[in-house]
């Protein structure tokens, strides 16, 4: 071991010692979580069948609304108007949302479609496209944990797009999917449903992942331990051009017409959010610049229409600070516009239409939200910890 390696060793030992001894995870709590996981495995299969029935007859377990009004409003915004009486819950299928659970999909129409991928694999990410579903399946094969992208057509055939894939992004018309191409060093775009590879390129770094696709461009970001700003890369799949930014850009989304929503650090205490054409993702920051946007927990997502930004502030679970706000960045000043949603936000959400999104609360309820309107509670099966909703494109 040389001096540099010894220095690394000392750093690791010193850092490890910052974890002080003490019982922070109780055996009872882990056992309870383990029992619960065991029960979920057994009940998920039954629940997904029940879900199909629930979609059709409109029965089921009502999503509760006790979280509404419980969390602070975004800093710098006007107070949200008093949340109106929430609308009555509706079955998830009635708003065009599908359900993934265990070994099958329940469509908005209530049809139960068995997964045709490897037995025992679960889906991490699912998107409905015009001709079927794109799925990221994870499971154990030959004693190794593997993750694969699959395409399952509407008539039930399933084709593995490739091994060792990462998260994928599907174009808003549902005709293209971008992901890694067989190893972490290559990115590719495939045509759907043919799965013909349209283009491939060497990934700019081994920790690059696809952050969005719009028109002929794919935007990539880099995963770093902090999951904050990194470099971003825009790849034109027709010309092969790759444009890379300096560090300090966080890609928050890509609209259907190829606009990228970026957060760019502007010094230590301020950050800017703006929309730029995907091919100009490296240009200097502009747009809406505030101290709030620089806060650690601040995240955003761009509506597919490009017109709305959903902002959500995720603070460490210890102080349980969550909120969701919306800003209309088309007005230029970027004033956050209150949205009639104050939900203890769980991290997952997806856009189910060009201007509405589906979000889960920390206590497990699910809502469909649109700017400046009360969120619509969705009826979902009671065991939703094992079941996930997903949307469609195209």
């Amino acid at each position: 071991m040389n001096e540099f390696e010894r220095r690394l060793e000392r750093t690791l030992l010193a850092r490890a010692e910052t974890v002080v001894a003490g019982q922070r995870l109780s055996g009872d709590a882990v056992v309870a979580a383990g029992r619960s996981a065991h029960r979920r495995r057994r009940t998920a299969a039954a629940a997904i069948v029940a879900a199909a029935v629930a979609v059709i007859v409109g029965a089921g377990v009502l999503a509760q609304t006790r979280d509404l009004g419980a969390t602070p409003v975004p800093p710098g915004s006007a107070s949200p108007s008093a949340v109106d009486t929430p609308p009555a819950p509706v079955p998830f299928g009635s708003v065009g949302v599908s359900l993934m659970g265990y070994d099958r999909i329940v469509t908005p129409e209530g049809t139960s479609v068995p997964l045709r991928g490897p037995k025992g694999f679960g889906s991490i990410q699912t998107v409905r496209v015009p001709d079927g579903w794109v799925l990221l399946l994870n499971g154990v094969a030959n004693r190794e944990e593997v993750t694969q992208v699959w395409f399952q057509s509407g008539d039930g055939d399933a084709v593995r797009v490739g091994d060792l894939m990462s998260y994928f992004e599907v174009s808003r018309d549902g005709r293209r999917v971008a992901t890694h191409d067989g190893d972490l060093g290559t990115m590719a775009v495939y045509e759907l449903p043919s799965l013909r590879r349209l283009a491939r390129v060497s990934a700019p770094t081994e920790n690059a992942y696809v952050a969005g696709i719009g028109g002929d461009w794919v935007v990539m970001a880099e995963s770093v331990a902090t999951w904050r700003e990194s470099r971003a890369h825009a790849w034109n799949i027709v010309t092969g051009e790759v444009i890379s930014t300096h560090a300090g850009v966080e890609v928050w989304g890509v609209s259907r017409d190829g606009q990228v929503l970026r957060r760019v650090a502007d010094g230590a205490s301020k950050a800017c959010v703006d929309l730029v054409p995907i091919g100009q993702v490296g240009r200097d920051a502009g747009g809406w610049c505030t101290a709030e946007l620089a806060e650690d927990g601040m995240r955003g997502a761009l509506a597919p229409s490009g017109g709305w930004v959903m902002l959500h502030d995720y603070r460490d679970g210890r102080d349980h600070r969550y909120w969701v706000g919306v800003a209309d960045i088309r007005v230029g000043a970027g004033r956050p516009v209150p949205i009639a949603i104050r939900i203890g936000l769980e991290s997952g959400f997806f856009w189910d239409t060009d201007s509405s999104f589906v979000v889960s609360s920390k206590s497990g309820e699910t809502y469909r939200c649109q700017p400046v309107r009360p969120c619509q509670p969705l009826i979902v099966p009671q065991t939703q910890g094992s079941l996930t909703l997903f949307g469609s494109v195209g």
């Binding site: 000392r10 019982q23 109780s26 055996g27 882990v30 056992v31 990221l136 995963s223 331990a225 991290s347």
Partner: protein, 170 residues
């Protein structure tokens, strides 16, 4: 899992949590995420408890689960939603200071790709051999070598860049 086994599992958790949390913290670089990671690994271990015959294999199982989970890139999306520690103020880096050196090294270590970081943690903190790291992470030995070499090179380069900026010897 029967009652006796659950008692044995609780005893394992009580005796090994701090050590596991330390390893997890080095793998993910954040105390809150480390607790999540250990809990995730312990729940998986609970589910597999009856299949793990050798008591000595239990800790290896947990550590393997932690390492493979931490290096699963698909966890990134969830982790991207989490708050992490802020960068120490490096504007003060105008003198050779052992604690600063550690912080700079730590800062750059946390920004390595997860697999490179995991290999370095297993090698220089856990003291595992290349073969043991390969077994733990499910990589080939060649891949372990490559990740270690690239991780060390990146750390050297970034610390040298820091030194060039601040005048501190790397």
């Amino acid at each position: 899992v029967d009652v006796a086994d659950e008692d044995a599992f609780r005893a394992f958790v009580a005796s090994r949590t701090t050590a596991l949390l330390r390893s997890a913290y080095l793998l993910v670089g954040d105390h809150g995420q480390a607790e999540d990671l250990v809990q995730t690994a312990l729940v998986k271990t609970y589910l597999a408890w009856s299949r793990i015959r050798e008591p000595a294999a239990v800790e290896a199982y947990v550590r393997r689960t932690m390492a493979t989970t931490a290096t699963s890139w698909w966890r990134g999306r969830r982790f991207r939603e989490r708050v992490v520690e802020t960068l120490p103020d490096r504007a003060d880096a105008d003198r050779v200071d052992p604690s600063l050196e550690r912080d700079s090294m730590w800062w750059h270590l946390r920004h390595l790709p997860a697999r490179q970081r995991a290999v370095l943690v297993l090698r220089y903190y856990e003291g595992l051999s290349e073969a043991e790291i390969a077994d733990t992470l499910g990589f080939s030995r060649g891949a372990v070598k490559s990740h270690a070499s690239r991780g060390l090179a990146a750390l050297r380069r970034r610390l040298a860049d820091d030194a060039a900026e601040t005048g501190v010897r790397a």
